[in-house]
Protein backbone atom coordinates (compact mmCIF):
# COMPACT_ATOMS: atom_id res chain seq x y z
CA UNK A 1 0.00 0.00 0.00
CA UNK A 2 2.52 2.57 1.14
CA UNK A 3 4.84 1.37 -1.55
CA UNK A 4 2.22 2.06 -4.18
CA UNK A 5 1.57 5.44 -2.65
CA UNK A 6 5.20 6.40 -2.77
CA UNK A 7 5.33 5.11 -6.35
CA UNK A 8 2.46 7.36 -7.52
CA UNK A 9 4.01 10.18 -5.51
CA UNK A 10 7.29 9.61 -7.28
CA UNK A 11 5.63 9.56 -10.68
CA UNK A 12 3.84 12.80 -9.87
CA UNK A 13 7.02 14.53 -8.78
CA UNK A 14 8.77 13.25 -11.87
CA UNK A 15 5.97 14.55 -14.11
CA UNK A 16 6.03 18.03 -12.58
CA UNK A 17 9.80 18.19 -12.81
CA UNK A 18 9.64 17.09 -16.43
CA UNK A 19 7.03 19.72 -17.30
CA UNK A 20 9.03 22.42 -15.61
CA UNK A 21 12.13 21.29 -17.42
CA UNK A 22 10.29 21.21 -20.76
CA UNK A 23 9.09 24.77 -20.35
CA UNK A 24 12.56 26.02 -19.50
CA UNK A 25 14.04 24.01 -22.34
CA UNK A 26 11.60 25.50 -24.84
CA UNK A 27 12.47 29.01 -23.70
CA UNK A 28 16.18 28.34 -23.91
CA UNK A 29 15.94 26.78 -27.36
CA UNK A 30 13.82 29.72 -28.50
CA UNK A 31 16.31 32.24 -27.21
CA UNK A 32 19.31 30.40 -28.63
CA UNK A 33 17.73 30.06 -32.06
CA UNK A 34 16.73 33.71 -32.14
CA UNK A 35 20.08 34.97 -30.94
CA UNK A 36 22.06 32.71 -33.27
CA UNK A 37 19.87 33.73 -36.19
CA UNK A 38 19.96 37.43 -35.40
CA UNK A 39 23.37 38.18 -34.00
CA UNK A 40 25.05 38.49 -37.38
CA UNK A 41 22.64 41.22 -38.43
CA UNK A 42 22.23 42.97 -35.11
CA UNK A 43 24.34 46.11 -34.88
CA UNK A 44 24.14 49.78 -34.05
CA UNK A 45 23.62 50.38 -37.75
CA UNK A 46 20.68 47.96 -37.75
CA UNK A 47 18.99 49.89 -34.94
CA UNK A 48 19.48 53.34 -36.44
CA UNK A 49 19.10 52.91 -40.21
CA UNK A 50 16.11 52.82 -42.54
CA UNK A 51 15.37 49.61 -44.46
CA UNK A 52 16.94 49.57 -47.92
CA UNK A 53 16.71 47.52 -51.11
CA UNK A 54 12.96 46.90 -50.86
CA UNK A 55 13.39 46.00 -47.18
CA UNK A 56 15.81 43.23 -48.03
CA UNK A 57 18.63 45.06 -46.29
CA UNK A 58 19.27 47.94 -43.93
CA UNK A 59 17.91 48.64 -40.48
CA UNK A 60 14.65 48.87 -38.63
CA UNK A 61 14.80 52.37 -37.22
CA UNK A 62 11.35 53.46 -38.46
CA UNK A 63 9.79 50.37 -36.86
CA UNK A 64 11.47 51.13 -33.52
CA UNK A 65 10.47 54.77 -33.76
CA UNK A 66 6.88 53.91 -34.70
CA UNK A 67 6.58 51.40 -31.87
CA UNK A 68 7.90 53.93 -29.37
CA UNK A 69 5.53 56.61 -30.60
CA UNK A 70 2.63 54.15 -30.53
CA UNK A 71 3.18 53.16 -26.90
CA UNK A 72 3.79 56.77 -25.91
CA UNK A 73 0.47 58.02 -27.29
CA UNK A 74 -1.20 54.89 -25.97
CA UNK A 75 0.15 55.60 -22.46
CA UNK A 76 -0.94 59.22 -22.57
CA UNK A 77 -4.46 57.94 -23.18
CA UNK A 78 -4.57 54.76 -21.09
CA UNK A 79 -2.72 55.79 -17.93
CA UNK A 80 -4.78 58.83 -16.89
CA UNK A 81 -8.01 57.15 -17.91
CA UNK A 82 -7.12 53.91 -16.15
CA UNK A 83 -5.97 55.77 -13.05
CA UNK A 84 -9.18 57.76 -12.83
CA UNK A 85 -11.20 54.57 -13.22
CA UNK A 86 -9.17 52.87 -10.49
CA UNK A 87 -9.68 55.86 -8.19
CA UNK A 88 -13.39 55.73 -8.79
CA UNK A 89 -13.56 52.00 -8.12
CA UNK A 90 -11.49 52.06 -4.93
CA UNK A 91 -12.36 55.43 -3.41
CA UNK A 92 -15.81 56.46 -4.50
CA UNK A 93 -17.90 53.48 -5.56
CA UNK A 94 -19.27 51.26 -2.84
CA UNK A 95 -18.39 47.60 -3.43
CA UNK A 96 -22.03 46.74 -4.02
CA UNK A 97 -23.01 49.60 -6.31
CA UNK A 98 -24.33 48.44 -9.66
CA UNK A 99 -22.14 50.88 -11.57
CA UNK A 100 -18.95 49.66 -9.86
CA UNK A 101 -19.85 46.02 -10.46
CA UNK A 102 -20.63 46.78 -14.10
CA UNK A 103 -17.27 48.49 -14.52
CA UNK A 104 -15.45 45.59 -12.88
CA UNK A 105 -17.28 43.13 -15.11
CA UNK A 106 -16.43 45.23 -18.16
CA UNK A 107 -12.75 45.44 -17.18
CA UNK A 108 -12.54 41.67 -16.68
CA UNK A 109 -14.27 41.05 -19.98
CA UNK A 110 -12.06 43.54 -21.78
CA UNK A 111 -9.03 41.64 -20.54
CA UNK A 112 -10.23 38.41 -22.18
CA UNK A 113 -11.29 39.79 -25.58
CA UNK A 114 -9.01 38.47 -28.37
CA UNK A 115 -6.77 41.26 -29.62
CA UNK A 116 -7.95 41.01 -33.23
CA UNK A 117 -11.40 42.05 -32.02
CA UNK A 118 -9.86 45.24 -30.70
CA UNK A 119 -8.43 45.81 -34.16
CA UNK A 120 -11.84 45.40 -35.74
CA UNK A 121 -13.41 47.62 -33.12
CA UNK A 122 -10.80 50.30 -33.77
CA UNK A 123 -11.51 50.13 -37.48
CA UNK A 124 -15.26 50.39 -37.00
CA UNK A 125 -15.35 52.86 -34.13
CA UNK A 126 -12.31 55.12 -34.35
CA UNK A 127 -11.69 55.14 -38.09
CA UNK A 128 -15.13 54.82 -39.65
CA UNK A 129 -17.27 56.39 -36.93
CA UNK A 130 -15.11 58.99 -35.15
CA UNK A 131 -12.61 59.73 -37.93
CA UNK A 132 -15.22 59.58 -40.69
CA UNK A 133 -17.49 61.77 -38.61
CA UNK A 134 -14.71 64.31 -38.08
CA UNK A 135 -14.01 64.45 -41.82
CA UNK A 136 -17.64 65.01 -42.66
CA UNK A 137 -18.10 67.56 -39.94
CA UNK A 138 -14.92 69.64 -40.15
CA UNK A 139 -13.51 68.97 -43.62
CA UNK A 140 -16.67 68.64 -45.66
CA UNK A 141 -16.03 65.01 -46.48
CA UNK A 142 -12.36 65.31 -47.43
CA UNK A 143 -10.56 62.15 -46.32
CA UNK A 144 -8.07 62.83 -43.52
CA UNK A 145 -9.04 61.25 -40.20
CA UNK A 146 -11.27 58.54 -41.60
CA UNK A 147 -8.33 56.29 -42.46
CA UNK A 148 -5.75 54.34 -40.46
CA UNK A 149 -3.23 56.45 -38.55
CA UNK A 150 -1.07 56.39 -35.44
CA UNK A 151 -3.68 58.13 -33.31
CA UNK A 152 -6.40 55.55 -33.92
CA UNK A 153 -3.93 52.70 -33.57
CA UNK A 154 -2.70 54.11 -30.23
CA UNK A 155 -6.22 54.58 -28.92
CA UNK A 156 -7.15 51.05 -29.96
CA UNK A 157 -4.07 49.77 -28.14
CA UNK A 158 -5.00 51.92 -25.14
CA UNK A 159 -8.31 50.09 -24.88
CA UNK A 160 -6.51 46.76 -24.96
CA UNK A 161 -4.10 47.73 -22.19
CA UNK A 162 -6.62 49.58 -20.02
CA UNK A 163 -7.37 46.56 -17.77
CA UNK A 164 -3.67 46.17 -16.95
CA UNK A 165 -3.45 49.80 -15.86
CA UNK A 166 -6.67 49.70 -13.85
CA UNK A 167 -5.75 46.53 -11.99
CA UNK A 168 -2.21 47.73 -11.13
CA UNK A 169 -3.35 51.13 -9.92
CA UNK A 170 -6.20 49.64 -7.89
CA UNK A 171 -3.79 47.29 -6.20
CA UNK A 172 -1.45 50.17 -5.39
CA UNK A 173 -4.22 52.40 -4.06
CA UNK A 174 -5.29 49.64 -1.70
CA UNK A 175 -1.80 49.46 -0.20
CA UNK A 176 -2.04 53.06 1.02
CA UNK A 177 -2.78 52.58 4.73
CA UNK A 178 -6.11 53.71 6.13
CA UNK A 179 -4.21 55.51 8.93
CA UNK A 180 -2.74 57.94 6.43
CA UNK A 181 -6.11 58.75 4.91
CA UNK A 182 -7.55 59.27 8.38
CA UNK A 183 -4.65 61.52 9.36
CA UNK A 184 -5.29 63.65 6.31
CA UNK A 185 -9.05 63.84 6.85
CA UNK A 186 -8.58 64.60 10.53
CA UNK A 187 -6.50 67.62 9.51
CA UNK A 188 -9.48 68.98 7.64
CA UNK A 189 -8.63 67.76 4.16
CA UNK A 190 -11.47 66.88 1.84
CA UNK A 191 -11.67 63.45 0.31
CA UNK A 192 -10.36 64.73 -3.00
CA UNK A 193 -7.45 66.57 -1.34
CA UNK A 194 -6.61 63.35 0.48
CA UNK A 195 -6.60 61.39 -2.77
CA UNK A 196 -4.53 64.01 -4.55
CA UNK A 197 -1.95 64.60 -1.81
CA UNK A 198 -1.73 61.25 -0.03
CA UNK A 199 -3.29 58.39 -1.98
CA UNK A 200 -1.95 59.13 -5.46
CA UNK A 201 1.63 59.93 -4.37
CA UNK A 202 1.52 56.73 -2.32
CA UNK A 203 0.45 54.81 -5.42
CA UNK A 204 3.18 56.14 -7.69
CA UNK A 205 4.97 52.81 -7.91
CA UNK A 206 1.75 51.04 -8.87
CA UNK A 207 0.96 53.57 -11.56
CA UNK A 208 4.51 53.08 -12.86
CA UNK A 209 4.11 49.29 -12.86
CA UNK A 210 0.81 49.52 -14.69
CA UNK A 211 2.29 51.84 -17.26
CA UNK A 212 5.29 49.61 -17.90
CA UNK A 213 3.18 46.47 -18.19
CA UNK A 214 0.84 48.27 -20.57
CA UNK A 215 3.77 49.53 -22.63
CA UNK A 216 5.32 46.10 -22.84
CA UNK A 217 2.01 44.61 -23.92
CA UNK A 218 1.37 47.41 -26.39
CA UNK A 219 4.84 47.09 -27.87
CA UNK A 220 4.31 43.42 -28.67
CA UNK A 221 0.72 43.26 -29.93
CA UNK A 222 0.14 43.40 -33.66
CA UNK A 223 -3.51 42.51 -34.22
CA UNK A 224 -4.97 45.76 -32.82
CA UNK A 225 -2.91 47.92 -35.19
CA UNK A 226 -3.28 45.73 -38.26
CA UNK A 227 -6.25 47.69 -39.62
CA UNK A 228 -5.87 50.85 -37.62
CA UNK A 229 -2.56 52.42 -38.57
CA UNK A 230 0.45 50.16 -39.10
CA UNK A 231 2.14 50.51 -42.46
CA UNK A 232 4.09 48.03 -44.56
CA UNK A 233 6.82 50.46 -45.47
CA UNK A 234 7.24 54.22 -45.09
CA UNK A 235 10.11 56.26 -46.44
CA UNK A 236 9.63 58.93 -43.76
CA UNK A 237 8.91 58.92 -40.06
CA UNK A 238 5.41 59.87 -38.90
CA UNK A 239 5.22 63.57 -38.01
CA UNK A 240 1.51 64.03 -37.43
CA UNK A 241 -1.19 62.13 -35.58
CA UNK A 242 -2.84 61.47 -38.92
CA UNK A 243 0.25 59.70 -40.32
CA UNK A 244 0.67 55.96 -40.53
CA UNK A 245 3.65 54.30 -38.87
CA UNK A 246 5.88 51.23 -38.94
CA UNK A 247 5.99 48.81 -36.04
CA UNK A 248 8.34 46.08 -34.82
CA UNK A 249 5.80 43.29 -34.46
CA UNK A 250 4.14 44.14 -37.75
CA UNK A 251 7.53 44.36 -39.41
CA UNK A 252 8.32 40.78 -38.38
CA UNK A 253 4.97 39.64 -39.70
CA UNK A 254 5.51 41.44 -43.01
CA UNK A 255 9.03 40.10 -43.42
CA UNK A 256 7.90 36.57 -42.72
CA UNK A 257 4.85 36.55 -44.98
CA UNK A 258 4.91 39.33 -47.57
CA UNK A 259 8.56 39.86 -48.35
CA UNK A 260 9.81 39.29 -51.92
CA UNK A 261 12.21 36.67 -50.63
CA UNK A 262 11.35 35.36 -47.19
CA UNK A 263 14.46 33.23 -46.84
CA UNK A 264 16.79 36.04 -47.67
CA UNK A 265 15.30 38.32 -45.02
CA UNK A 266 15.49 35.62 -42.36
CA UNK A 267 18.44 37.25 -40.53
CA UNK A 268 16.52 40.54 -40.41
CA UNK A 269 13.51 38.74 -38.99
CA UNK A 270 15.63 37.12 -36.30
CA UNK A 271 17.34 40.36 -35.40
CA UNK A 272 14.05 42.26 -35.26
CA UNK A 273 12.57 39.56 -33.06
CA UNK A 274 15.62 39.86 -30.82
CA UNK A 275 15.08 43.61 -30.46
CA UNK A 276 11.40 43.18 -29.66
CA UNK A 277 12.10 40.43 -27.13
CA UNK A 278 14.80 42.41 -25.39
CA UNK A 279 12.54 45.42 -25.23
CA UNK A 280 9.57 43.60 -23.68
CA UNK A 281 11.82 41.56 -21.42
CA UNK A 282 13.45 44.65 -20.00
CA UNK A 283 10.11 46.39 -19.52
CA UNK A 284 8.61 43.38 -17.78
CA UNK A 285 11.64 42.96 -15.57
CA UNK A 286 11.38 46.58 -14.44
CA UNK A 287 7.68 46.13 -13.72
CA UNK A 288 8.33 42.96 -11.72
CA UNK A 289 10.99 44.69 -9.63
CA UNK A 290 8.81 47.71 -8.88
CA UNK A 291 5.86 45.50 -8.05
CA UNK A 292 7.91 43.30 -5.72
CA UNK A 293 9.09 46.41 -3.87
CA UNK A 294 5.52 47.63 -3.63
CA UNK A 295 4.29 44.32 -2.22
CA UNK A 296 7.08 44.26 0.33
CA UNK A 297 6.16 47.78 1.40
CA UNK A 298 2.51 46.77 1.77
CA UNK A 299 3.41 44.08 4.30
Amino acid sequence: MSKRKSLTGGIFIGATALSAFLIIAVIIVLLVVIILGGKGTFSWEFLTAFPTDGMMKGGIFPAIYGTALLVLIMSVAAVPFGTITAIYLTEYASEKSILAQTIRFAVRTLATVPSIIFGLFGLGFFIKFVGGGMDNFFLGGELKWGQPNILWASLTMALLTLPVVIVSVEEAIRTVPRELREASLALGATKWETIKRIVLPGSRAGIMTGTILAVSRGAGEVAPILFTGAAYYLATLPTSLSDQFMNLGYHIYIMATQSANVDQTLPIQFATTMVLLMLTFMLNLTAVIIRARLRRKAK
Binding site: A183, S184, L187, A189
Partner: protein
Protein backbone atom coordinates in the same frame (compact mmCIF):
# COMPACT_ATOMS: atom_id res chain seq x y z
CA UNK B 1 -16.69 74.35 36.62
CA UNK B 2 -15.59 75.74 33.27
CA UNK B 3 -17.87 76.15 30.30
CA UNK B 4 -19.00 73.09 28.40
CA UNK B 5 -17.18 72.64 25.10
CA UNK B 6 -18.59 69.32 23.99
CA UNK B 7 -21.90 67.91 25.11
CA UNK B 8 -23.37 64.60 24.05
CA UNK B 9 -27.01 63.68 24.55
CA UNK B 10 -28.12 60.04 24.44
CA UNK B 11 -25.47 59.21 21.88
CA UNK B 12 -25.98 55.69 20.61
CA UNK B 13 -23.91 54.03 17.91
CA UNK B 14 -24.33 50.78 16.01
CA UNK B 15 -21.80 48.99 13.84
CA UNK B 16 -24.33 47.22 11.64
CA UNK B 17 -26.48 45.35 14.16
CA UNK B 18 -23.94 45.55 16.97
CA UNK B 19 -24.46 48.30 19.53
CA UNK B 20 -21.12 49.86 20.48
CA UNK B 21 -22.33 52.91 22.43
CA UNK B 22 -25.45 52.96 24.52
CA UNK B 23 -27.01 56.35 25.16
CA UNK B 24 -23.96 58.29 26.29
CA UNK B 25 -24.51 61.75 27.79
CA UNK B 26 -21.52 63.77 28.98
CA UNK B 27 -20.45 67.40 29.33
CA UNK B 28 -16.79 67.96 28.48
CA UNK B 29 -15.52 71.31 29.78
CA UNK B 30 -13.35 73.80 27.94
CA UNK B 31 -9.58 73.96 28.53
CA UNK B 32 -9.45 70.87 30.65
CA UNK B 33 -8.18 67.37 30.05
CA UNK B 34 -10.84 64.69 30.03
CA UNK B 35 -9.70 61.08 30.09
CA UNK B 36 -11.67 58.05 28.87
CA UNK B 37 -10.77 54.80 30.56
CA UNK B 38 -12.23 51.32 30.45
CA UNK B 39 -11.41 47.77 29.38
CA UNK B 40 -10.56 46.94 25.79
CA UNK B 41 -13.52 46.97 23.42
CA UNK B 42 -15.75 49.07 25.67
CA UNK B 43 -16.17 51.79 23.05
CA UNK B 44 -13.64 54.47 24.03
CA UNK B 45 -12.21 54.89 20.54
CA UNK B 46 -15.65 54.67 19.01
CA UNK B 47 -16.88 57.45 21.27
CA UNK B 48 -13.85 59.60 20.60
CA UNK B 49 -14.32 59.20 16.87
CA UNK B 50 -17.94 60.31 17.02
CA UNK B 51 -16.68 63.67 18.28
CA UNK B 52 -14.99 64.59 14.99
CA UNK B 53 -17.22 62.42 12.83
CA UNK B 54 -14.40 60.04 11.92
CA UNK B 55 -16.91 57.19 12.11
CA UNK B 56 -18.63 58.62 9.04
CA UNK B 57 -15.99 56.83 7.00
CA UNK B 58 -16.95 53.37 8.23
CA UNK B 59 -19.75 51.78 6.24
CA UNK B 60 -22.72 50.50 8.23
CA UNK B 61 -22.37 52.90 11.16
CA UNK B 62 -25.64 54.25 12.52
CA UNK B 63 -25.70 57.07 15.06
CA UNK B 64 -28.58 58.53 17.05
CA UNK B 65 -28.58 61.22 19.69
CA UNK B 66 -26.68 64.48 19.61
CA UNK B 67 -23.14 65.77 19.83
CA UNK B 68 -23.02 69.49 20.53
CA UNK B 69 -19.77 71.38 20.08
CA UNK B 70 -20.12 75.00 21.18
CA UNK B 71 -23.84 74.26 21.36
CA UNK B 72 -24.07 73.27 17.68
CA UNK B 73 -25.12 69.75 16.77
CA UNK B 74 -22.26 68.44 14.64
CA UNK B 75 -24.49 65.78 13.08
CA UNK B 76 -26.77 68.48 11.75
CA UNK B 77 -27.12 68.41 7.95
CA UNK B 78 -25.84 71.98 7.63
CA UNK B 79 -22.55 71.20 9.35
CA UNK B 80 -19.51 71.18 7.08
CA UNK B 81 -17.55 68.12 8.23
CA UNK B 82 -14.30 69.41 6.74
CA UNK B 83 -14.48 72.63 8.74
CA UNK B 84 -15.50 70.70 11.81
CA UNK B 85 -12.38 68.57 11.59
CA UNK B 86 -10.24 71.69 11.31
CA UNK B 87 -11.67 72.78 14.62
CA UNK B 88 -11.33 69.35 16.24
CA UNK B 89 -7.90 67.84 15.75
CA UNK B 90 -7.08 64.18 16.32
CA UNK B 91 -3.94 62.33 17.34
CA UNK B 92 -3.98 58.61 16.72
CA UNK B 93 -2.70 55.64 18.68
CA UNK B 94 -0.15 54.68 16.07
CA UNK B 95 1.83 57.67 14.89
CA UNK B 96 0.95 58.14 11.25
CA UNK B 97 3.42 60.49 9.56
CA UNK B 98 3.02 61.03 5.84
CA UNK B 99 5.88 59.83 3.65
CA UNK B 100 7.03 63.42 3.34
CA UNK B 101 9.56 65.65 5.05
CA UNK B 102 8.98 66.83 8.62
CA UNK B 103 8.31 70.30 7.26
CA UNK B 104 5.75 69.07 4.73
CA UNK B 105 4.01 66.95 7.35
CA UNK B 106 3.45 69.91 9.63
CA UNK B 107 2.67 72.25 6.74
CA UNK B 108 0.06 69.83 5.37
CA UNK B 109 -2.90 71.32 7.22
CA UNK B 110 -1.99 74.96 6.55
CA UNK B 111 -1.42 74.13 2.90
CA UNK B 112 -4.86 72.63 2.44
CA UNK B 113 -6.20 75.73 4.13
CA UNK B 114 -4.75 77.65 1.21
CA UNK B 115 -1.60 79.08 2.79
CA UNK B 116 1.11 79.14 0.15
CA UNK B 117 3.37 81.92 1.40
CA UNK B 118 6.68 80.27 2.27
CA UNK B 119 7.49 82.67 5.11
CA UNK B 120 4.13 82.14 6.72
CA UNK B 121 4.39 78.35 6.41
CA UNK B 122 7.84 78.40 7.98
CA UNK B 123 6.47 80.43 10.85
CA UNK B 124 3.59 78.03 11.45
CA UNK B 125 5.82 74.97 11.23
CA UNK B 126 8.32 76.41 13.70
CA UNK B 127 5.64 77.51 16.16
CA UNK B 128 3.81 74.17 15.98
CA UNK B 129 6.98 72.14 16.46
CA UNK B 130 7.96 74.35 19.40
CA UNK B 131 4.54 73.92 20.98
CA UNK B 132 4.88 70.17 20.59
CA UNK B 133 8.30 70.27 22.30
CA UNK B 134 10.13 68.78 19.39
CA UNK B 135 11.60 71.82 17.66
CA UNK B 136 15.05 71.49 19.22
CA UNK B 137 15.31 67.87 18.10
CA UNK B 138 14.33 68.42 14.48
CA UNK B 139 15.18 72.02 13.62
CA UNK B 140 18.28 70.99 11.66
CA UNK B 141 16.54 68.26 9.70
CA UNK B 142 13.21 69.79 8.77
CA UNK B 143 13.55 68.64 5.20
CA UNK B 144 14.44 65.04 6.01
CA UNK B 145 11.77 62.38 5.80
CA UNK B 146 9.55 62.13 8.87
CA UNK B 147 9.90 58.35 8.62
CA UNK B 148 13.43 58.68 9.98
CA UNK B 149 12.22 59.96 13.36
CA UNK B 150 11.91 57.71 16.40
CA UNK B 151 8.44 56.55 17.43
CA UNK B 152 8.18 59.14 20.19
CA UNK B 153 9.42 61.90 17.92
CA UNK B 154 6.98 60.86 15.23
CA UNK B 155 4.11 61.07 17.66
CA UNK B 156 5.11 64.53 18.85
CA UNK B 157 5.49 65.59 15.23
CA UNK B 158 1.96 64.31 14.59
CA UNK B 159 0.80 66.45 17.49
CA UNK B 160 2.62 69.42 15.95
CA UNK B 161 0.89 68.63 12.68
CA UNK B 162 -2.45 68.78 14.46
CA UNK B 163 -1.54 72.03 16.24
CA UNK B 164 -0.61 73.63 12.92
CA UNK B 165 -4.28 73.65 11.93
CA UNK B 166 -5.04 75.64 15.11
CA UNK B 167 -7.88 73.49 16.38
CA UNK B 168 -9.84 74.27 19.54
CA UNK B 169 -10.19 70.68 20.63
CA UNK B 170 -7.64 67.88 20.45
CA UNK B 171 -8.77 64.26 20.59
CA UNK B 172 -6.05 61.77 21.46
CA UNK B 173 -6.52 58.02 21.18
CA UNK B 174 -3.90 56.33 23.37
CA UNK B 175 -1.22 58.70 22.08
CA UNK B 176 1.52 57.20 24.23
CA UNK B 177 0.62 53.52 24.21
CA UNK B 178 3.37 52.61 21.75
CA UNK B 179 6.05 54.73 23.40
CA UNK B 180 8.83 54.24 25.92
CA UNK B 181 8.57 55.87 29.40
CA UNK B 182 10.69 58.89 28.49
CA UNK B 183 8.68 59.68 25.37
CA UNK B 184 5.50 59.09 27.35
CA UNK B 185 6.61 61.56 30.00
CA UNK B 186 7.29 64.10 27.28
CA UNK B 187 3.83 63.64 25.81
CA UNK B 188 2.22 63.98 29.23
CA UNK B 189 4.15 67.16 29.91
CA UNK B 190 3.01 68.38 26.53
CA UNK B 191 -0.64 67.65 27.31
CA UNK B 192 -0.28 69.62 30.49
CA UNK B 193 0.98 72.63 28.55
CA UNK B 194 -1.60 72.31 25.80
CA UNK B 195 -4.61 72.40 28.04
CA UNK B 196 -4.04 76.11 28.64
CA UNK B 197 -5.18 76.75 25.11
CA UNK B 198 -7.03 73.62 24.05
CA UNK B 199 -9.76 71.32 25.20
CA UNK B 200 -8.25 67.87 25.33
CA UNK B 201 -9.94 64.50 25.32
CA UNK B 202 -7.64 61.53 25.77
CA UNK B 203 -8.22 57.79 25.68
CA UNK B 204 -5.80 55.79 27.77
CA UNK B 205 -5.29 52.31 29.13
CA UNK B 206 -2.85 53.53 31.66
CA UNK B 207 -4.52 54.36 34.99
CA UNK B 208 -1.57 56.30 36.32
CA UNK B 209 -1.51 58.33 33.17
CA UNK B 210 -5.20 59.18 33.46
CA UNK B 211 -4.67 60.13 37.09
CA UNK B 212 -1.64 62.26 36.23
CA UNK B 213 -2.81 64.22 33.23
CA UNK B 214 -6.58 64.54 33.46
CA UNK B 215 -8.96 66.82 35.30
CA UNK B 216 -11.98 64.67 34.57
CA UNK B 217 -12.30 60.96 33.98
CA UNK B 218 -15.02 58.94 32.28
CA UNK B 219 -15.20 55.21 32.87
CA UNK B 220 -16.74 53.15 30.08
CA UNK B 221 -17.83 49.56 30.25
CA UNK B 222 -19.46 47.54 27.46
CA UNK B 223 -20.57 50.61 25.53
CA UNK B 224 -22.03 52.34 28.57
CA UNK B 225 -20.76 55.33 30.48
CA UNK B 226 -20.60 54.01 34.03
CA UNK B 227 -19.21 57.01 35.82
CA UNK B 228 -17.98 60.47 34.96
CA UNK B 229 -16.51 63.03 37.31
CA UNK B 230 -13.45 64.76 38.69
CA UNK B 231 -10.40 62.57 38.28
CA UNK B 232 -9.51 62.91 41.94
CA UNK B 233 -12.87 61.63 42.97
CA UNK B 234 -12.96 58.78 40.44
CA UNK B 235 -9.60 57.55 41.61
CA UNK B 236 -10.12 57.97 45.35
CA UNK B 237 -13.80 57.44 46.07
CA UNK B 238 -15.79 56.37 43.01
CA UNK B 239 -19.54 56.08 43.36
CA UNK B 240 -19.88 52.84 41.44
CA UNK B 241 -18.53 49.47 42.44
CA UNK B 242 -17.56 48.65 38.82
CA UNK B 243 -15.39 51.76 38.61
CA UNK B 244 -13.62 50.90 41.80
CA UNK B 245 -13.04 47.31 40.68
CA UNK B 246 -11.56 48.47 37.40
CA UNK B 247 -9.33 51.12 38.91
CA UNK B 248 -8.00 48.85 41.57
CA UNK B 249 -7.27 46.28 38.90
CA UNK B 250 -9.80 43.68 39.95
CA UNK B 251 -10.94 43.25 36.36
CA UNK B 252 -10.37 44.55 32.84
Amino acid sequence: MKETKIKTKNLTLFYGAKMALNSISVDIPENEVTAFIGPSGCGKSTFLRTLNRMNDLIPGVKITGEVLVDSLNIYDKQIDVVNLRKKIGMVFQKSNPFAKSIFENVAYGPRINGITDRKKLEEIVERSLKNAFIWEEVKDRLHDSAMGLSGGQQQRMCIARTLAVEPEIILMDEPASALDPISTAKIEELIFELKKNYTIVIVTHNMQQAARVSDLTAFFYLGELIEFGKTKKIFTSPDKKQTEDYITGRFG
